[in-house]
């Protein structure tokens, strides 16, 4: 009777092969006869037999001496659509290749796996402790031929055998489906921000149920990678002390897995394992430690165990606490958890970046508040200022403070550092200068006081401030200057040809306690131009990364300022010059400068 395709019952064969190569041929012939009885054609028979023989040969050749008493199990399942094999071995297992390539033509070995891969449509390898399963499948090319009917007794036996094998397969498959289902369930409810711990706890509780374990212990590597900290555990007795990663102490199972990057199977009844923290918490248990990574970086370890009785046989070589299928589920769920850990950490970093952005905003606000809204009006003097921040907030600031009827104190300073601390120091400096009206006309004394005030705080955080304090008196046409390690002030006057770059030799603020600052005075004449700036000007980069340079700045100053009538014209010309230099490139540092000219209209 011809069976309509797709409606027949699957047929199953289960065979055990003793660990002896000579037994492989006869068993493969039995399988061949079974396949022929299921209507497989010549080509299918040839392909399946060869792939099966290669699989079983490997299972026998690589069985360690202690596993040679255990047979290799062959399970074959045929349907109208497919021929499927599972070969259970007791070897140490191997890494299933990502790609299957033939060895060089003159190589005498290395073709077995290639043949299995090539002769089947699907193939994979489940690794477990003391047992692994090679599974491969061939899709059938044609409808099965007419199959001779069996006797009722044969049919009954065949059905019973089919049911037994299918039940076994279903058990293994269902654990795979359960793990998939668990992943889907947990994917839908990916950890909420800051709730990774709860998420991990619930996922791992589910995992212990799926694989029939009794307990789990999840450790994550600390931020400095110095130790593994318990992150989640099935009960409080497993909230063990951190495990140092770098110490030379006894290597326990978890540490071994973390350091060797391999799964480690353990039995806490093994003599000598009592110093293992797990053995102390769980004296009679078997299990596996699975390390997990993000790229090359160790994220943590997951340990899953099952209690055993103290008196049961202790054979750590062959103990199969978890089947290959269960071990595979543990691996899959751990790797899924690893992705969630990475996601959660990225989320934390995002929050951190957000906090950082907020900090910069605050710093920006402080800095904006430092810049005078309006420059003071000083008879006989024309002032203009420009301040532009680079991407990160810096500590540049300028100020102009009236110091009496006729003079003005000009300040340009640069706090070395970024963010809120730099802005805070700038604010303190600004306040300290404004709070000492009695010495405003003495720039050197002001710097000395500011240094004494700020020294302790600045040196604690390894920061310092450079500054120029220039007192300009248009009535006396004089400039009094004190410098704290700042770049030179440029001045041109009608009293001398060219220009001068002035800087008195003072140390930056915060470098040395109780230091003094020299002061120098210059006569300005009737017509003069001053430029006070921070080094963001001379350090500005062009599109090719070349600095503008002090020399260029001085050349520009010498060539240009004589043609500018007002401070504002000098400022506009300099901004234009900087735009020309930087081109499309954005600012690499803050740009702050003050321009001063005599005011011919007063």
């Amino acid at each position: 009777m011809n069976r309509p395709r797709g409606t027949s019952r699957p047929a199953v064969l289960r065979l055990t092969v003793p660990c002896d190569l000579a037994e492989v041929r006869p068993r493969s012939q039995e399988v061949g006869a079974f396949l022929a009885a299921q209507g497989c054609d010549e080509n299918e028979l040839m392909s399946c037999s060869l792939a099966l023989v290669e699989a079983v040969n490997n299972a026998i050749r690589y069985a360690p001496p202690e596993a040679q008493g255990q047979p290799v199990i062959i399970e074959a399942l045929t349907t109208d659509q497919t021929i499927e094999f599972r070969v259970t071995d007791h070897t140490a297992g191997f890494d299933w290749p990502q790609e299957f390539n033939l060895p060089p033509q003159d190589s005498e070995s290395g073709r077995g796996l290639y043949l299995i891969h090539t002769l089947s449509h699907e193939a994979n390898y489940l690794r477990g402790r003391g047992q692994n399963v090679l599974h491969f499948l061939r899709r059938r090319s044609s409808a099965p031929l007419d199959v001779p009917s069996n006797t009722p007794e044969e049919v009954r036996l065949q059905l019973a055998e089919n049911d037994r094998v299918i039940t076994q397969m279903v058990e293994e498959l269902s654990s795979c489906y359960e793990s998939l289902a668990s992943i889907f369930r947990h994917s839908r409810t990916s950890p909420e921000p800051g709730r990774l711990q709860t998420f991990a706890q619930s996922l791992l509780e589910e995992l212990t149920q799926i694989v029939g374990a009794d307990w789990f212990l999840l450790r994550l590597a600390s931020e400095d990678h110095a130790q593994l900290d318990v992150f989640a555990a099935s009960d409080v007795s497993l909230h063990l002390a951190p495990l140092p990663l770098m110490s030379s102490q006894h290597i326990c199972a978890e540490l071994e897995a973390a350091l060797t990057r391999q799964e480690v199977w353990f039995d806490t009844r093994t003599p000598g394992s009592t110093i293992d923290p797990i053995a102390r918490a769980r004296p009679a248990t078997q299990g596996v430690v699975h390390p997990f990574y993000a790229g090359e970086i160790l994220l943590g370890t997951l340990t899953v165990g099952r209690s055993v009785s103290q008196s049961s046989v202790l054979d750590p070589q062959t103990a199969t606490v978890f089947t290959a299928g269960q071990a595979s589920v543990i691996r899959t769920l751990t790797d899924f958890l690893a992705i969630q850990v990475v996601n959660a950490r990225q989320h934390e970093e995002h929050i951190h970046a957000h906090a950082l952005a907020r900090e910069l905003e605050i710093a920006n606000e402080i800095q904006r508040s430092l810049v005078p809204k309006n420059l003071p009006h000083v008879p006989g003097l024309d002032l203009a200022a420009h301040s532009e921040n680079a991407r990160l907030v810096g500590g540049d600031f300028y100020d102009a403070i009236r110091t009496g009827d006729s003079s003005v104190l000009l300040v340009v300073a640069d706090v070395m550092g970024k963010g809120v601390p730099a802005a805070m120091f700038a604010a303190i400096l600004r306040t300290s200068l404004r709070a000492a009206p009695e010495v405003l006309q003495h720039p050197a004394e002001l710097l000395r006081r500011a240094n004494n005030l700020l020294f302790d705080e600045l040196s604690t955080v390894d920061m310092f401030i450079t500054a120029h304090l220039a007192l300009v008196d248009p009535r006396t046409r004089s400039l009094t200057l004190a410098t704290a390690g700042h770049c030179p002030l440029l001045v041109s006057t009608d009293r001398a040809p060219g220009f001068a770059a002035l800087a008195s030799e003072g140390l930056p603020l915060g470098i040395k306690r109780d230091t003094t600052f020299p002061e120098q005075t210059l006569e300005l004449g009737e017509s003069y131009r001053l430029l006070l700036y921070t080094d963001g000007l001379s350090e500005a980069l062009d599109e090719n990364g070349a600095r503008y340079g002090q020399e260029n700045l001085e050349c520009w100053f010498a060539a240009t300022v004589g043609n500018c009538r007002t401070a504002d014209e000098v400022r506009s010309a300099l901004i234009q010059e900087m735009q020309r230099h930087c081109g499309q490139r954005s600012l690499n540092d803050d740009l702050t400068f003050l321009t001063v000219t005599n005011n011919p209209e007063t």
Binding site: V24, L50, V53, E54, N57, R61, D106
Partner: protein, 100 residues
Amino acid sequence: MKLEAHGDILRVTGLKELDVTNSTEVCASIRAALNPAQKNIEIDLAQMNYLDSSGLGTLIALHKTACSREGVVRLLHPVPAVQEVLKLTRLGRIFEISKA
């Protein structure tokens, strides 16, 4: 398995299978039978219905032996199953295969 000398050829016939159980032994026997004048090895595969990856290893080992004597390995009358294995592993090119 029968080994016969024909001038510079050693002819191997009657080999029914070449697999993990006998490949080492077969290789050793053929090498031992080669006399200094024989550089070519002809293996009649007409009766061989079974060849696995270990058997392929033996054929390659014999190919190397023949090459060192500036000779070749000729495979005669391979059955379809054996032809298929040689094709899958792309070894058809390194042997002289005579189907007739």
